[in-house]
């Protein structure tokens, strides 16, 4: 936890230098938010029954997805584990990471978590605020939902981090993961409920999505925020997220231990 705050402080320091860049990033996501808002307004006017929820709730879902994407897009942060590992493997500096007294997975989580929290406060929050003020975004139904959304968002981040970490480990085998990263980003975009809400997919596709972890990244927190789940359902949603996060973190850890052993053999 101490390391986490240390990484967070370093991130925090950079804000003074790049204030203009931050303003622009918020502006970019406002343009994208305007885009999805227009899209869903037109589709709602065409057939409200298919959208299946009130327009204000739908545009809130879509715009919040865009805002969260600032930090949840797989390679949005330069500290994302797959970006970091790829860079270190390519330049051969990965050995310095192994020398540190902290496990690689924890190191990267602290680094990436700091950047994500920082991005959440300085990028997502302003975008959300402007969305609420000018774009007709709704607030969560009550305080419980709001708090549950924050918890769910943190769990989303953990799941995303773990998937990214596993992707980064592939780099040790292939040295270049750019193409795999593109495929992965595409899959995540389609299956996470970010671009298309899952209830619009055909039945067989929904069944597939339900057994995959991707929907926990966007759909779960967004459904909680918009009040689309009952208060009893919140518990179940969060539990599912915790389960996926645990499974993926352990899987990543196991894979890393395997890779590490192989690396030592190579070095010895």
């Amino acid at each position: 936890m101490k390391t986490f705050w240390a990484f967070l402080r370093t991130e925090q320091r950079s804000v003074g230098f790049y204030r203009m860049d931050f303003l622009l990033k918020v502006l970019y996501s406002l343009i994208a938010m305007y885009g999805v808002r227009s899209l869903w307004s037109v589709l709602y006017a065409q057939d409200p029954a298919i959208v299946g929820r009130p327009l204000s709730s739908m545009i809130t879902y879509a715009m919040l997805a865009v805002a969260l994407d600032i930090i949840f897009y797989p390679s949005a942060l330069s500290t994302a584990p797959q970006n970091y590992i790829a860079g270190q493997v390519r330049t051969g500096r990965i050995d310095t990471d192994l020398l540190r007294p902290m496990d690689l997975q924890k190191q990267l989580l602290a680094r990436n978590g700091g950047a994500a929290l920082f991005g959440a406060v300085w990028l997502v929050l302003p975008a959300w605020f402007i969305g609420v003020l000018f774009f007709g975004m709704e607030l969560p139904p009550d305080l419980l939902y709001g708090a549950a959304f924050l918890v769910s968002g943190i769990l989303s981040f953990l799941i995303l981090f773990s998937l990214n970490f596993i992707l980064g480990l592939v780099c040790f085998a292939t040295t270049d993961i750019r193409q795999i990263t593109m495929a992965y980003s595409g899959i995540l975009t389609i299956l996470s409920g970010k671009l298309i809400p899952n209830w619009l997919y055909p039945k067989w596709m929904q069944a597939l999505i339900n057994v995959l972890p991707f929907r926990c990244i966007f759909e779960t927190p967004l459904n909680i925020y918009t009040g689309a789940v009952s208060s009893a359902g919140i518990g179940y949603s969060l539990l599912l997220q915790i389960l996926w996060a645990a499974v993926l973190i352990i899987l990543g850890k196991g894979m890393w231990l395997g890779v590490h052993r192989y690396l030592t053999v190579q070095g010895g």
């Binding site: 305007y34 885009g35 227009s38 037109v42 065409q46 057939d47 593109m182 671009l195 298309i196 997919y201």
Partner: protein
């Protein structure tokens, strides 16, 4: 006239040299093709699901949307195949390699453009053509020779518009060092016009992409004309070549002013 011939010959030999250089990396092409399909795949899936559930987006059916998306890719690929180097002016100015062009007796523009042909950009062309053809089959519209001529005119105009816009954004480097922000802003705007017909947006945005940034001329207006859509008057679509020419004039003027400015600051 003799000067023009010289320039064309120079461009040819510059291209030949670059081609020889990159032909060594043939697998790059296949990898790029896969990435282009994957990168655009998510958008295509989104458009397909939306038009499957809602029957259409506004009055645009799935076939129309594929043509809209494909046209954008084809026009854009003209830039990414032949002129991608233009977006690297910033880099070249910063690391000083731009000065080399000014010392040689060939126009700096030609040297910049001739120094690079990015044949992986052809993947965009291939996917774009595939999307347009699929879209046309789905809509059942058949193009007569007149439409085919207009298709070529639209693609060339669209390509010219992208090249000029990207070029102008890079030229901003002559005045201020950070053109990257402007370029990302441009990206955000065209991402919306690439995917969706601009009629779903408000009046302000439509004006922005028609009259100011004109990215709607890459795909929306061509598609309206080529697919007989009622979304815009046809004369507004057919002025695409005029708009492209307008941008060429502006780009040429800015380039010359920029070069002069660069000289003075370098001296």
């Amino acid at each position: 006239m003799r000067e023009l011939k010289f320039h064309i010959k120079m461009y040819g030999s510059l291209l030949k040299m670059t081609m020889k250089g990159i032909l060594q990396y043939r697998t790059d092409f296949w990898i790029s093709l896969v990435s282009v399909v994957l990168l655009n795949g998510a958008n295509i899936v989104q458009l397909s699901v939306i038009s499957w559930r809602f029957k259409a987006l506004g009055n645009w059916q799935v076939g129309d949307l594929l043509v809209l998306y494909g046209l954008f890719m084809i026009s854009w690929s003209i830039f990414s195949v032949f002129f991608r180097k233009l977006s690297k002016i910033e880099e070249e100015i910063v690391n000083g390699s731009f000065d080399v062009y000014l010392l040689r007796p060939v126009s700096p523009f030609l040297q910049l453009v001739g120094g690079d042909i990015n044949y992986t950009g052809l993947c965009d062309t291939i996917m774009g053509i595939a999307l347009v053809m699929t879209g046309l089959v789905m809509t059942g519209i058949q193009w007569d020779w007149k439409k085919i001529c207009w298709f070529i005119i639209f693609v060339l105009s669209g390509g010219t518009i992208v090249v000029c816009l990207r070029f102008l954004i890079s030229c901003v480097t002559f005045w201020m060092t950070k053109a990257g922000a402007l370029s990302s802003l441009f990206t955000q705007i065209y991402l919306l016009t690439q995917k969706y017909p601009v009629t779903i947006f408000g009046r302000g945005f439509r004006f922005l992409v028609t009259g100011l940034v004109t990215v709607a001329y890459l795909n929306f207006y061509p598609a309206v004309y080529l697919l007989d859509k009622p979304d815009a008057p046809y004369w507004l679509c057919r002025i695409a070549p005029l708009i492209a020419m307008g941008w060429v004039v502006i780009a040429a003027v800015v380039w010359h002013i920029g070069l002069q400015r660069y000289n003075s600051s370098g001296g």
